[in-house]
Symmetry: C2
């Protein structure tokens, strides 16, 4: 177990501490875990956290890009909390772990819109 | 080997593809590799790429925080290129892999100043 409470370093978090962290919703359902996240190369801005969800023992799960802005770290839970109903994931944008799509503007707008967020780029 | 050329996805790069990537200088010297990077939790802005350098077979190396903005990805080299002389690392800010400092503003300004960059926060 990673002790996130001692690895926060103020306002910053290490990339390898984000990966693997659990994601819950406000009802306390365990939704999945962060597989990785997508960074804009030039500016260094994180655009998506990619959540692994579904499958069995981590096999066959899908990857769901989430707007970074909808995730809040909860030190009590030791994971990220997002305000979304589990059913919302049924139709959410997703891809196979080895089938990452072209994250172009059209795809990005679709993801942000799905979660009720403004696509800021 | 990670084929970075097929994993770029436009302007975005996956966090786990950044980790482990080699870092060279303009003279072609291999300086180290990216251990991880530090992200501002709220905004999702990457502030530092942390380069592992020194030691033997990856043991005993130090971690050098570099301003994200000084790294450029070079598809030919398959790694990041930074414009810095190897000797500059002799006195550069560094820490043990398990001794990550408090990345506060004072530390950040020191790192950015060391590499001739303006600390933008």
């Amino acid at each position: 177990m990673i002790d996130m409470t001692t690895d926060n370093h103020g306002d910053l978090i290490a990339s390898d501490r984000v990966e693997g962290t659990a994601v819950y919703n406000r009802q306390g359902d365990h939704l999945g875990k962060i597989a990785n996240f997508m960074v804009e190369k030039r500016s260094g801005q994180v655009r998506y956290a990619v959540m692994a969800f579904g499958g069995f023992l981590g096999l066959g799960n899908d990857h769901y890009p989430l707007p970074w802005s909808i995730l809040t770290y909860d030190t009590d839970k030791g994971g990220y909390v997002v305000d979304l109903d589990k059913q919302l994931l049924d139709d959410a944008p997703r891809h196979a772990p080895d089938g990452r799509p072209d994250y172009d503007d059209s795809y990005g707008r679709n993801v942000y819109q799905y979660y009720g967020q403004i696509y800021p780029w």
